[in-house]
Symmetry: C2
Subunit: 116 residues, 2 copies
DNA sequence: TCAATAGTTCCGAATTTCCGAACTAAGGAA
DNA sequence: TTCCTTAGTTCGGAAATTCGGAACTATTGA
């Protein structure tokens, strides 16, 4: 029988920009990450229905894995469930302004002309 | 016989962050875009060998298409060749700080601890 | 008209993503 | 202990994407 692999987290200095951009090029993952960055909804299943559809368990699990292995979040088992937290602070040290700019871009979403 | 489709460029307000992040999650495309953003090497083939390998023509063409349709660059035929330019200025209006932060992140590339 | 150059399109192979089903892992309850 | 439940992971196959060589288009110049 197969055992679950322990969760992998890259060291801050091993985090690569392409992995971050790739992870955040998926709107579902962005939605998840946004929640985590805001400090809410820390478990996996708590984030199952964000947009119009309910994300299947296995897809959700995969999203978390992508976020984790890209270095965007940290996950840790706590009893039956999983505590997830964003690594925003560390990330901002390594890539100043990056996460902020990305989340801001997504917030601006639909073709809104800038209010100036 | 098939005709070539005219080049598509999204209007500035139709540019979506996910497309930008996806386009720039590929190091080869980032290398191309970086050159364009710096104002150099405007044709396709001029950018064929950026890293260790020579990028095949069809792949290059596809990279440019992805960059173009995500809204990162503007391409225009000029005689036999293609003039490409980044849409940095427009983009920075729409998504302030985004492109800058991304290119800075890539510049910082290998596991360099911040010099402070 | 023909040749050369620059880039695009086609299409098959290889890779990646998606998600249902089966599984693991931990916490109760009896 | 054994069974149940809940939370999430892994497996595996179908669907979608990506990659790149070969053929094609478009333009210039001889």
């Amino acid at each position: 029988m197969k055992f679950m692999r322990p969760l992998f987290h890259p060291a801050i200095e091993d985090i690569r920009p392409e992995a971050i951009l790739y992870a955040l090029s998926d709107p579902e993952r962005v939605a998840i990450f946004t929640q985590l960055a805001a400090g809410c909804g820390v478990t996996c299943s708590a984030l199952a229905d964000l947009g119009e559809r309910t994300i299947p368990k296995s897809s959700l699990s995969n999203h978390f894995k992508v976020l984790r292995e890209s270095g965007l979040i940290r996950s840790e088992r706590q009893g039956v469930e999983m505590r997830n937290q964003s690594r925003c602070a560390e990330l901002d040290e390594r890539f100043p302004g990056l996460i902020e700019a990305i989340l801001t871009a997504y917030r601006q979403r639909p073709g809104q002309p800038k209010a100036d």
